[in-house]
Amino acid sequence: MPQHPDRRPDPEELLRRVQAEERRQRLGRLKVFLGYAPRVGKSYRMFAEGRRRAERGEDVVVGAVQGQATPEIQEILSRLETIPPVIERHAGRIYEVMDLAAIFRRHPGVCLIDGLAYDNPPGSRNPQRWQDVRDLLGRGIAVITAVNLQHIREKQTEVERITGKRAAYSVPEEFLLDADEIEVVDAPPDALIVRGGTAADARALAELREMALLLAADVVEWQLQDYLDAHGIAARWGAQERLLVCLTPRSSAVEMLESGHRNALRFHGTLLATYVEQPSLRPEDRARLESHLALAREMGAEVHCLPPGDFVETILAFAREQRVTQIFLGHSGKERTWWGGRSPVERLIDAAEDFDVRLFPHKDAS
């Protein structure tokens, strides 16, 4: 991918590079299997990978097993070394705590940890298991783990809306973003319904499946960005649609924002709104602009105010920096001179190479 010669990394990009560097210095590699519902087979996939790696000569141990293992998983476990959990009782509850100290002593090459979302009993080294994993990685032990969508903290409200249930344990999404690898375990819902023997709601499962895929796509995009940053490549490409609504006092802001919002929702994209600061704005225009910006924020748009300057140049630079794929722009086609001396809209269209320009007629243009 060619680089932009005249572009210096912005602060956000620099920060990302530093973080990427830190991650690479972390010693152990983290791989996560993500499932969209229980029983999709993520544990099996994880242990199967552990077995394959052991067969190839890697030093693999099992750090945690979750619940009742299926016969297929038991068969794999019988061939792998397991560090047994510590059984603890607290306030009438039984905890199966991963024996972190024993794993540290054993210091394997790879540790398999099922059930990433788990709360340790009070008095443990870490309150939650994902923090244990972080400590293992810090000591140079690679970890392969498995987690279900309903345990991802930032997704729990949405999952609850779909299933009516909220999982007790959670893992922050940030932890997934930090993984070196994430693999989605996908299976059509009917297989689950048959396997589970329950009349589970196929629709709910399909919704969860979609969510898991989108979450994984976000993680992959993050990793791609990471990779490009690490190699000093300025990316101008993402699979995600990024829509930029350019607001001016006279534009049909409601129509543009509604359309942008709908597009962003349908494409699972990002909605950005911007305006180029104009120093001498009449009070009534200022008021209209402010109400447009308020509406943009209400619709969940990221609002950016850009410093005064040449409108076209400012918008173009911002669009490039933000990897925008569509620009929404108002126009009043009524005055003939609009096309006469190269209007801003015309110049923007001429310069638009990586994004579409969608023109919205001003409502008062008749």
């Binding site: 991918m1 895929l213 992959v220 995600q240 597009n263 609009w338 990586d354």
Partner: protein, 365 residues
């Protein structure tokens, strides 16, 4: 869900060769065989991968048909033999394959439709880069222009799509170990198409597409607009109508990008999608004809209008057909001595002032 086919179609969707689509498909085939399902291999591409070949053991294979073309021998699926054998389920690898000339149908997906029409369920594999609507995205992300494509509706119509995932790290490991290709080809592949950035880009695209497919099946389309006859003024209608997108295509090569982009937006917005070409006496419409065929393959309703005033014809058509968005490509810049004149795009924007106009840019890498 397809209504007109009797057979069910299940697609294993991956993001690159070697992620394990065929392996997963064979695993499922073995499971079905154990359950007593009458399943055969109608076409299988072994790629000299021992683990995958081992998975075919015990499955009945319909011999391929040998076709001579240009002095060479090619092997294709023997559709007639599969039809005669009439299994309950047929396994057909590589959905996007183009048949060698001399076959009854040009594309394998058309062969698959023949099987489905005959009431045979089909399991098949496809990679995301073979989907027509993603062709530009794939090119932009990877620099590779994929030639063998399938129209999206062919995959959209599948009863089930399963996303087969493998991390790029693991895929590259498999390449290094020579699982996917032989050693010398593997190194070449890793430097080019299978670079880490490319794989990540393709993978993200595949995930988003698979998620979109699911959402499509979950979301009922907005109230259908009454399809007006060409030239007829439609009846007034209550409630928010669904979007209607008009793609203005020409004979210029960039029209292919325009069609894919317009169709992709239409699909995501669940909008109706139409295409128009304005032909005039001076221009040969032959190159445009290719684009019209391409649009029809993507199930876009196409219209050709004779007029010397392209912008006027587009605007009139758009009004008559209650178009909400017009998609156009950028006009060629006018020479300096004509700078006072308007380009077609400028005129469309000015004349259809109550309709949104989207100018689709050519993407660069």
């Amino acid at each position: 869900m397809s209504q007109n086919h009797k057979g069910r179609l299940k697609v294993y969707l991956g993001y690159a060769a070697g992620v394990g689509k065929t392996y997963r498909m064979l695993e499922e085939a073995q499971e079905m065989r154990r359950q007593g399902v009458d399943i055969v291999i109608a076409y299988f591409e072994p790629h000299a991968r021992p683990e995958t070949i081992a998975k075919t053991e015990g499955l009945e294979t319909i011999p391929r048909r040998v076709i001579s073309y240009a002095g060479s021998q090619f092997e294709e699926m023997d559709v007639d033999a599969v039809l005669r054998r009439k299994p309950a389920v047929a396994l057909v690898d590589e959905f996007a394959h183009t048949n060698v000339p001399g076959c009854d149908r040009t594309k394998r997906w058309q062969d698959v439709h023949t099987l489905l029409d005959a009431g045979i369920d089909v399991l098949t594999t496809v990679n995301v880069q073979h989907l027509e609507s993603l062709n530009d995205e794939v090119w932009k992300g990877t620099g590779v222009r994929v030639r063998e494509t399938v129209p999206d509706w062919v995959v959209d119509d599948a009863d089930e799509v399963v996303f087969v995932d493998l991390t790029p790290h693991a895929l590259r490991n498999r390449l290094e170990r020579g699982v996917v290709y032989k050693a010398e080809k593997a190194q070449q592949a890793m430097d080019n198409f299978f670079s880490e950035a490319n794989l990540n880009a393709l993978r993200e695209l595949a995930m988003r597409h698979a998620a979109h497919e699911l959402e499509e099946k979950l979301t009922p389309p907005p109230a259908a607009a009454i399809e007006p006859l060409p030239g007829e003024m439609p009846a007034p209608e209550k409630g928010p109508a669904r979007e209607r997108i008009l793609i203005c295509l020409t004979g210029r090569p960039s029209s292919a990008v325009l069609i894919r982009r317009g169709k992709r937006v239409a699909d995501y917005l669940q909008a109706d999608c139409l295409a128009i070409h304005v032909a005039n006496a001076a221009n040969s419409s032959e190159p445009a004809e290719r684009h019209l065929t391409f649009a029809r393959n993507l199930r876009i309703a196409t219209h050709v209008i004779q007029s010397d005033d392209a912008a006027g014809a587009i605007t009139t058509f758009a009004r008559a057909n209650r178009i909400t968005q017009i998609f156009v490509g950028r006009s060629r810049p006018l020479p300096w001595w004509q700078r006072f004149r308007e380009t077609t795009v400028q005129r469309v924007v000015r004349q259809s002032r109550d309709i949104r106009v989207t100018i689709v840019a050519e993407r660069r890498r």
